[in-house]
């Protein structure tokens, strides 16, 4: 197992290195001065120029430049944003929690509703129920997320006026970021309005979270259903039934753990599209996360922000995919067997 983990770590490092090489090459291709693209300092004075040149080793060969670039980026120097003059790393730290919050809530929603519905679809002997559930999930799967987001905000925000459609919180609430998770911060806040602020934050997250949850939800339902159908035909389930075990016990105790394994695998595969969906959702609902930050950076030709955003998103996706793979391997007895057999 240790050897397996080391190999995964190795994979993570190698992929990240490739990512850095690509970023380094792209940075030098930006249609601006190299110094500006690297640091975001618009008109540096002589002292700053000297500093930049030593930091990034600009006067030596490409290889040394790359090493210096790697050193700077890994030590957290992502430059400053040209539009706000703040360090990109700071901005990143303030936008990332918003994205994680949104992703966590939609992930939870998808699993919370997806797993039971998938089980229900597989157990139901009713053709109508089965077909209805499958029709709904197929529809959900094929709806483009930008259309869904706009439609939901048009209906529930503009026409009905039930839910707010942009941002994380009514801006009149002054909540100091502690964890960066608005749902937590509002509760931690000592302001007399903290309870109302919490409910306001909940209302704000509903529409973006639902929009983002639709895709993983449909995938979870479909995969759970097909996995459950296969498993429920297995002999050990029949044996359990023969022994007179309660259906709920069979399902929850004996079938579900095995059905979850392919779900986890598909979640890992979906990570990339989930991230790009998250960006679209953030832009639609003006959710101040990394996606809308990156898109604004692109419009503002803020090259340091673009690099920082791409780096962060790519690193997170690489890391999470590998983590999900590790998780998948560790709970899947079959792949454990393969693992030891291959080693």
């Amino acid at each position: 197992m240790v050897r397996y983990l080391l190999r995964r770590l190795n994979l993570f490092l190698a992929t990240s290195l490739v990512l850095f090489i690509v970023l380094f090459i792209v940075t030098n291709q930006f249609p601006v001065e190299q110094r500006f693209a690297l640091t975001g300092i618009q008109s540096p004075n002589a002292q700053q120029i000297a500093q930049i040149e030593t930091d990034f080793n600009l006067n030596s060969g490409v290889f040394n430049q790359f090493i210096a670039y790697l050193q700077q980026r890994l030590s957290g120097n992502l430059g400053i944003s040209a539009t706000s003059q703040r360090p990109v790393a700071d901005e990143l730290a303030s936008v990332l929690p918003a994205t994680f919050e949104l992703a966590a809530v939609s992930g939870t929603l998808a699993l919370m509703f997806g797993l039971p519905l998938g089980i229900l679809a597989s157990l139901s002997r009713h053709k109508v129920t089965q077909h209805t559930i499958m029709a709904i999930t197929l529809t959900g799967y094929s709806i483009p997320v930008f259309w869904l987001g706009l439609t939901l905000s048009l209906w529930f925000g503009v026409e009905l006026g039930w839910l707010p459609i942009s941002g994380r919180l009514n801006l009149l609430y002054e909540i100091e970021p502690v964890t960066g998770f608005m749902l937590v911060d509002t509760l931690l806040s000592t302001s007399p309005y903290s309870t109302s602020a919490f409910f306001d934050a909940v209302l704000h997250i509903i529409l973006p979270a639902i929009t983002l949850a639709v895709l993983p939800f449909t995938v979870v339902v479909r995969i759970t259903r097909s996995a459950m159908m296969t498993i429920m035909d297995q002999t050990y389930i029949k044996a359990a039934e023969a022994r007179g075990l309660h259906t709920s016990r069979i399902v929850l105790r004996h079938a579900l753990p095995n059905a979850v394994i392919p779900v986890i695998k598909s979640l890992g595969l979906m990570l990339g599209s989930f991230a790009s969906y998250a960006m679209v959702v953030e832009v639609i609902f003006a959710w101040p996360g990394i996606g809308s930050w990156l898109v604004a950076g692109i419009y503002q030709r803020d090259y340091t922000v673009i690099q920082g955003g791409v780096l962060a998103v790519a690193l997170i996706i690489i890391f999470l995919s590998i983590m999900i793979e590790v998780l998948h391997t560790s709970i899947n007895p079959l792949s454990r067997k393969e693992l030891y057999a291959s080693n």
Binding site: P116, G157, G161, I165
Partner: protein
Amino acid sequence: MSMLIKRLSRYAMVTCLGVLAVGCGPQRVPPGLVYCSEGNPESFNPQLVTSGTTVDATSQQLYNSLVDYDAKSGRITPSLATDWLISDDELTYTFTLRKGVDFHQSIDFTPSRQFNADDVLFSFNRVIDTNHPYHSVSKTGYPFFQSIGFDKQINLIEKISDDKVAFHLNARDASFLSNLASGFAVILSEEYADGLAIRGEKEKIDRLPIGTGPFQLIKYVKNEYIRYHRNEHYWRTLPKSEMLVFDITPKSTSRLAKLITGDCSVSALPKAGELEVILAHDELVIDSQPGFNVAFWAFNTQKPPFDDVRVRKALAHAVDRENILRVVYQKTAVNATGLLPPMSWAYSENKPIINYDPEEAKRLLKEANITKLSIDIWAMPVARIYNPNALKTAELIQADLANIDVKVNIVSYDWSVFNQKLSQHSYDSVLIGWTADNSDPDNFFTPILSCSSVTSSSNRSRWCHPDLDLILAQARSTTNIEERKKFYQAAEAIFASQLPMLPLAHATKLAFKHKGVSEMELTPFGGISFTGTEESANQNKPKEELR
């Protein structure tokens, strides 16, 4: 099996009820006002910029000027100066300063003294004196002051006593007081600047502003919001709302949606097509004010072929401005017959500056020996008061010019990039405009067409015409209204004959707001004031009723 389904459905029901319960919970919102603004300010010191977005976010909220302009009476009124004396030769203006005015207090700065003459000296010397330690802190210069030649205009600013300051001018200037009343001539704190200089943090002065205005900056998050708190020591009547938030929303449709859902109470710069939506909502109202502005299509006259007046006229003849008025402004603007809007006292009804005549356009182009012309039109990415939709305007012009075989390429960037690239002067032509900073007609000529403004960023045509400069100088040197009116008409005539830019329209200044919002002031000039704004009927908001 049925047990399981039952349990699952119960579980689903509880979740749904939970969500509903959250929705029904009591909502208490802190008192304050949210204004949906259209973009990020470039700085928090209006001295450094000419962009209306920045002026909106700073001039009226954070600072005061020495004098104010009262739009109703058309007079200059006291602000930080209680009184002023003009010498007989009109070369010396002596201001008596107000006592008991406090500056904002922040984490970085606790004022130990009140506003006095040193602050006035600091604020203006920073702009005009190139050796001033704070002069070069600004990377963008002082475009408004450069464009009106402020440094050449002023000989000396003299401190007579702690509450008396004298401005000695080099030449008589009828627009001097009006310029001081504009949103750019704000008063900063000298004590704050000194403290920052000692700590070597000079650049903070424009980023973490300290002023005397009704609101104080608390927090600015780029692309998201600007939060202000009421200045509890404000020397005038305290504004009613304790908090003011600018919700930065670049998209016009998003601003409208936020207004409808109640996320903001006032929304800036609507597109004309959205008026019907507002009329359909009973709780929303439209504020309007005939604008002191002009939208124009400026040709880069220092770049061939636009240095040829025949080419400029040919392009102007080919554009159907009535159509632009109808499509882009939808009757919320008046046709421009020159630079001055009808509201200005120097305006007189001219005949249309140029008529729509594609045949004449073709003839002029042939005369100038130009074939296969292909030009770039830079269109602003954001809505401005003078032009709510520059991109659409550009598309209309593109279609019009196609009729005379001129190919148009539309260029646009995000606002900050757009501004930056404009200052590099590589464009062919640009769709932009000008909102007056004060009522003086000079403000429509000197900042945007004089030779001294070519170096600053506000002269978009990069046009320098000595005759026009002479007339403008003469117009400024007298205070006789009738004489001045004649001079400005002469200036209009030169403008019409040379046509460095094609004026398109004078737009009505519009803002959407909730009915409960009282006393938000739209001035005909740049800037928006929230002094005294408060949402009176907070409970009556439709959003609250639905919850």
